[in-house]
């Protein structure tokens, strides 16, 4: 049974001062959260005691201000960041859409990019070949599929990325605030496909600032603030827009 169980997740790390000859980089780390300490002993608490459980069919909307830890939590769920404390139990094949253009080569055709992106996602060549036509059809790229990716608009790229990520029907799909790149009809189509995935006993975790999208897509809501859970529960019509 597909499920995600996160209990008291923490992601703390020391801001590693790079050895450098230029002035120190004082920018905040990209994981968000809170910073403690000073100088070379600065520590970031990117996630602080995050707990939640998702079962098959759940569609979780992750909300929070910039730097609240939404993307960091998605990356922990995907396995890019390793939690420093707490437990995380994930059952099901996970796929993620964090960056539309990741792995797409500008000079290669859309068709070639399907192969490349599929390989990066861990598919076999046989799996990719079996689904290529379905991806092309869903992405509505038509003859553009044999044109270089660099000739695509942002929306076309988003359609192709979404089609690739969802065609193999991942059991758990993680997405980070990108779906707005497509036009309204594509967003509707994408939303339908996400519902279909969830109906097939999958889990979707979607980080977004778009309350409209979250209301339309999700049945649960997790609000983060400075790496902590501010609210976790069912998505209701009264949730803030």
């Amino acid at each position: 049974m597909v499920s995600i169980r996160a209990h008291d997740l923490h992601l703390d790390y020391q801001v590693r001062e790079k050895l450098t000859l230029r002035p120190r980089d004082k920018r905040l780390p990209q994981t968000g959260g809170t910073i403690s300490g000073t100088g070379s002993h600065r520590f970031v608490t990117a996630l602080d005691g995050v707990s939640f459980e998702l079962e098959a069919g759940d569609r979780l909307g992750l909300v929070g201000a910039n730097g609240a830890g939404k993307t960091t939590l998605l990356k922990v769920l995907y396995g890019i960041y390793e939690p420093t404390a707490g437990s995380l139990e994930i059952r099901g094949r996970v796929d993620a859409l964090f960056n539309i253009n990741l792995g797409f080569r500008p000079e290669a055709t859309g068709r070639r990019n399907i192969l490349l992106r599929g390989l990066i996602n861990g598919w076999t060549e046989a799996e990719i070949a079996a689904r290529t036509e379905e991806i092309i059809e869903f992405s509505e790229l038509g003859e553009f599929i044999d044109m270089p990716f660099k000739s695509y608009s942002q929306g076309m790229g988003a359609r192709l990325a979404f089609a690739i990520a969802t065609t193999l029907e991942p059991e758990i799909l993680l997405m980070d605030e990108w779906i707005g790149a497509g036009d309204a009809s594509f967003q509707e189509k994408a939303s339908q496909r996400m519902n279909l995935l969830a109906d097939k006993a999958g889990i979707i975790v979607l980080a977004s600032h778009s309350e409209e999208l979250l209301q339309k897509t999700c049945n649960k809501r997790l609000e983060l603030e400075k790496g902590r859970v501010k609210h976790f529960g069912k998505m209701g019509p009264d949730d803030p827009a």
């Binding site: 790390y13 590693r16 790079k18 050895l19 450098t20 000859l21 230029r22 780390p29 994981t31 990356k75 995907y78 396995g79 890019i80 960041y81 390793e82 993620a96 964090f98 960056n99 990741l102 792995g103 080569r105 000079e107 290669a108 192969l115 490349l116 390989l119 990066i120 861990g122 060549e125």
Partner: protein
């Protein structure tokens, strides 16, 4: 220590399991770089020829010694491969940042992608080197098997060297410029196109205390002299083991932290 070893092995085995990814990406990289050109990747062959010809015809005193042409041709081939691996490794994780922060691919995938890219480049240069050997009238002997063994040892050492320098680049960003300059100097401080007759004390020191000398020797000496450079093999094996120890230690300790640092 066991955890470090286990972490490193997980990454390396995972990287091997994803070999279709790095083979495909490395091949795409080479063809992408030359996509709009008339000669395509054959430019790599032209580059090698131009470089080798400069050293053979301009920097070598007349009359032209065919053996010296072979010495330079093979030396340049090996040097270029080593140089490309080291100088590009320092910025490897920085260049792969979006992949590292957006996928769960093992770091070994990026290491092997770079290593294979440079191997493909060297394969084109090898075609040029073979032409030089043929023009110089070289005869194949059993000693060439030592050269083959030398090439294998360099290939075994390459991923470890790339890993060590890639981590150096993550923790010390200035190292990309320092290493680039050091390698530029090393090109002339390494017997790529000069030999050591023992007369010049500075050359003798550079010859014997330069680790690159031995990596060149294990491939070049069997072809040029027909000899088995056992001492050089000993030094290269020791360096390779040390590099792998360093690579395993770095991978095992920091592989999960790279995504938070780059």
């Amino acid at each position: 220590m066991l955890k470090i070893l286990s972490n490193a092995l997980t990454d390396i085995v995972g990287g091997y399991g994803q070999r279709r990814v790095w083979i495909t990406l490395a091949t795409e990289d080479i063809f992408d770089q030359h996509r709009r050109t008339t000669l395509g990747p054959l430019w790599l062959l032209v580059n090698y020829f131009a470089f080798a010809a400069t050293f053979i015809f301009i920097f070598t005193p007349a009359p032209l010694d065919p053996l010296h042409a072979i010495y330079i041709g093979v030396g340049l081939l090996v040097w270029s491969y080593i140089n490309d691996n080291i100088t590009q490794a320092v910025t490897l994780f920085e260049r792969e940042e979006s992949f590292i922060k957006g996928t769960t691919l093992p770091l070994s995938v990026y290491v092997m992608r770079l290593t294979l890219q440079n191997l493909i480049r060297s394969a084109y240069a090898l075609a040029g080197c073979v032409v030089i050997l043929l023009l110089a009238g070289v005869t194949v002997s059993g000693a060439w098997l030592w050269s083959g063994l030398g090439v294998c040892l360099i290939l075994v050492a390459s991923p470890a060297v790339v890993t060590v320098f890639a981590f150096l680049g993550v923790f010390f960003p200035d190292s990309q410029f320092i290493i680039a300059n050091l390698m530029r100097v090393a090109m002339f401080a390494t017997p790529v196109f000069w030999g050591n007759a023992g007369g010049d004390p500075l050359r003798t020191v550079l010859f014997y205390w330069n680790p690159f000398t031995y990596f060149l020797a294990i491939v070049r000496e069997p072809i040029v002299d027909g000899s088995a450079p056992l001492n050089s093999f000993g030094v290269c094996i020791a360096i390779t083991l040390a590099m792998w120890a360093g690579a395993v230690l770095l991978l095992g300790t920091f592989r999960r932290q790279v995504a938070l640092i780059v």
